[in-house]
Amino acid sequence: MGPLIPNGVIPYEWSNIIAIIIGIAFGFILEASGFSSSRKLAGVFYGYDFAVLKVFFTAALVSLIGILYMDYLGYLDMSALYVHPTYLWGAIIGGAIMGVGFVAGGFCPGTALTSVAIGKIDAIIYVVGIMVGVFIFSELFTLFQPIYEGSFMGNITLMDSLGVNRYWFVFLFTALAIVIFKLSDMIRKRTKKIFY
């Protein structure tokens, strides 16, 4: 029963090898989907290319539904999975700062790495920028500490916060995604084409 490495089905020593293999697949998928192009990524904010939206939400839904099925069929213990912790204001403020960075730079860290791999100099500068950002955060840690450690709500899920049924939520989220995908196609048809 999964997860395999924490449960000792696969020895811990394999974890770094598996990390590289997973990384190769991750990089390949992102690059092949066009995420090494900042102009394609930025399209989601201006309506001329919705690849980010489609890839991102399709991936989230496939993994969400997949985890539910694997748990249901007994291959994976859902309660053993790591749930990203919720620090309410950290998530809001951090997310907002990242949003500005995304539109200004045209990348997020993962997509910038795929772009570095194919030699784009703007992506290399962007990654240097990320490291400078991490450095600034660390050096001024005492300043950011209240946001970083404050408003901790635990490793909660939407089931705890909204009190909804897991299966209904995923069903409605899927339906919403399909509507959004259709809408995005309609918006793209009305937007002036950008060639890049």
């Binding site: 900042s38 102009r39 489609k54 985890i67 990203h84 403020i93 949003g99 939407l158």
Partner: protein, 176 residues
């Protein structure tokens, strides 16, 4: 011949196909390791390693760096660092197969190369800062968090895209 090549280099996968494979990969990652994917973690490890190498006492005294420094192993000995090495290899293979490899600065014809690089640096700094405050980036917090329905993951996702749309108007000259 040349134009043929040019055309091919901009042929990307169908986004639903890419998204489907990415979802399967996230599922596989959770099945294997019990955690999701990440990207900014390796850059944090790199910064910690650089600071630790340059001035060990300063890194130990800092409350943030010291979280990631262990006595007997390097901060680079980390799952995310190996995963990131894989990302670079995988993207290089994909780019190589589609003739997309080459040194260049990609920018809109309406802006200069210099302007693009300045905004890339600034955007990177902001993203690096935000990813530390939110404890993860689009991959680690938003995408992997959403896969397990983490409230924080959903909020971070809404924060990133919501703010992106809010400020997109001010950066429009860079892109359209």
């Amino acid at each position: 011949m040349k134009t043929e090549k040019q055309k091919n280099s901009h042929m990307y996968w169908n986004p639903y196909f890419g998204g489907f494979l990415l979802g399967i990969l996230i599922l596989f990652t959770f099945y294997m390791t019990g955690r999701g994917l990440g990207a900014s973690g390796a850059m944090k490890s790199s910064v910690v390693t650089i600071v630790d190498t340059v001035t060990h006492s300063h890194a130990e005294a800092n409350e943030y760096y010291s979280k990631f420094i262990k006595d007997n192993e390097s901060p680079m000995n980390n799952w995310l660092v190996f995963e990131t090495l894989g990302v670079l290899i995988g993207a290089f293979i994909s780019g190589g197969l589609s003739n997309r490899i080459g040194w260049r600065v990609q920018h809109s014809p309406k802006i200069t190369r210099k302007r693009r690089l300045v905004f890339a640096l600034g955007g990177g700094i902001l993203f690096g800062l935000g990813a530390q405050i939110a404890r993860g980036c689009t991959s680690g917090a938003a995408l992997s968090g959403m896969a397990v329905l983490s409230t924080g993951g959903f909020i971070t996702m809404l924060g990133i895209f919501g703010t992106g749309y809010l400020v997109a108007y001010f950066f429009r000259k860079n892109w359209i």
